[in-house]
């Protein structure tokens, strides 16, 4: 054995793993403490107000919106999305369905309702507030996205294919970062999202408040921003592609009790 490799071996066995272990433990502690001290409930409160607020040409609230469990039924609705909706003949996640209700119930135009779907720290968006409130009404309910209707099955398959599709200026797919166990970007652990064990705790805590920019973030945003970082063009809001990916991820996470909205780095 050369002196060099002996040195590396010593370093490898002693210093580095111990440090890495401590780091991981401290990061977990950080994440636990930010979750305990999260202001996420403020977004739920605001969302409840918006859910009940008459808006649009029809001047009605969203309280009659059918999120899959019947008009106005919120309890457990989020945990069963995305799912197939007969009236729209397509698979819809929460935001897509809300957009549907804004156009059909409230009579708003798609352009107006999607003008500002992702907000910022000074002015969160209507979708963000509503997502916080509606998701909170599924706490404790097991995730059970639709996976029986042929269109739900097709969405799952398309989502899976999208997950592994490498393209863009940096040759990336979702699996480039979320494809191997025990990897991280900077300090951020990367869940292997096509595996149920890893997908479950993640999907059970989205949408979420992000402390790094004090913003409440939805699943449509999460997918949008991943594609931005992957150096792709922008996915259209509420498109079939984003709904398919969301279906793939949520079906993969099936069975996990929902415990969001979460709080993330």
């Amino acid at each position: 054995m050369t002196r060099f490799s002996a040195t590396i071996l010593v370093l490898g066995l002693a210093a580095i793993p111990a440090g890495a272990q401590d780091t991981k433990k401290e990061i977990q502690k950080y994440q636990q403490m930010i979750a305990e001290g999260s202001p996420v409930e403020l977004f739920e409160l605001e969302g409840e107000t918006l859910w009940k607020k008459p808006q649009g040409p029809n001047n009605v609230s969203l309280e009659k919106c059918d999120l899959g469990q019947g008009p106005g039924v919120l309890k457990g609705a989020y945990a069963r999305l995305p799912r197939y909706f007969k009236d729209a003949d397509r698979v819809m996640d929460l935001e897509t369905r809300l957009l549907h209700c804004m156009t059909t119930l409230q009579g708003r135009s798609r352009d107006e309702a999607t003008k500002r779907v992702f907000g910022n720290e000074n002015q969160p968006s209507e979708m963000e507030y509503l997502s916080a409130y509606i998701a909170s009404q599924s706490r404790g309910v097991r995730l059970a996205a639709g996976n029986s209707h042929p269109k739900e099955k097709a969405a799952y398959e398309l989502g899976k294919a999208l997950f592994f599709y490498r393209a863009g200026a940096w040759d990336m797919s979702c699996a480039s970062c979320h494809g191997e166990d025990n990897k991280r970007i900077r300090m951020q652990d990367l869940p292997v999202l096509y595996k149920p064990q890893a997908a479950r705790p993640i999907m059970a805590t989205w949408p979420a408040y992000r402390v790094s920019n004090s913003q409440f973030k939805t699943m449509q945003w999460r997918l949008n921003d991943c594609y931005r970082q992957m150096r792709f063009p922008e996915p259209k809001f509420a498109s079939e592609a984003t709904n398919a990916l969301n279906t793939f991820l949520t079906v993969t996470a099936a069975g996990e009790p929902y415990r969001g909205p979460g709080t993330k780095r």
Binding site: D22, T23, E26, I27, K29, Y30, Q31, M33, I34, E36, G37, I185, R186, M187, Q188, V211, S212, N213, S214, R228, Q229, R265
Partner: protein
């Protein structure tokens, strides 16, 4: 005016908007060094004490929110100050605990960089202190 209504009237006076009553130590909060901040709140040579407990992660993934839990086991603690030594304005907060409150607080603070966080507890004439280093790192893709 009856005695009762007079008391009620005084009560109303006391319930004036908080903004009129509230004091804010501009000098201490405007201080740019930890030493000046401590001076601003009347602290000089505080004694290190194990009875001040600072619970915080050693590593924060993001400086925008660093959760800190502080409690003092020093009998008679009446106030606690939090100083983030390397922040542009180190004094972060000062809590006064009156009869009925326990000397305990949990809050989220911003940290510009890795720094010692100093807590000073005031108990009777005593000033006691403890510090904890919190490392601020970069999370996410940075794009």
């Amino acid at each position: 005016m009856t005695r009762r209504s007079l008391l009620a009237f005084l009560g109303l006076l006391l319930a004036r908007p908080l903004s009129v009553l509230a004091a804010w130590n501009e000098q201490a909060f405007g201080a740019k060094t930890a030493a000046d901040a401590l001076k601003g709140i009347g602290v000089s040579a505080p004694a290190p004490s194990k009875d001040i407990v600072i619970d915080a992660p050693q590593i924060a993934e993001n400086g925008a929110v660093v959760p800190i839990e502080i409690s003092s086991n020093v009998p008679g603690t009446t106030a606690i100050a939090v100083v983030i030594e390397k922040n542009p304005f180190p004094l972060a907060a000062r809590f006064e605990f009156k009869e009925g409150a326990l000397p305990f607080v949990k809050l989220n603070v911003k940290m510009g960089e890795t720094s010692d966080v100093r807590v000073v507890a005031f108990a009777g004439g005593q000033q006691l202190t403890a510090t904890r280093e919190i490392k601020v790192t970069i999370g996410g893709c940075g794009g």
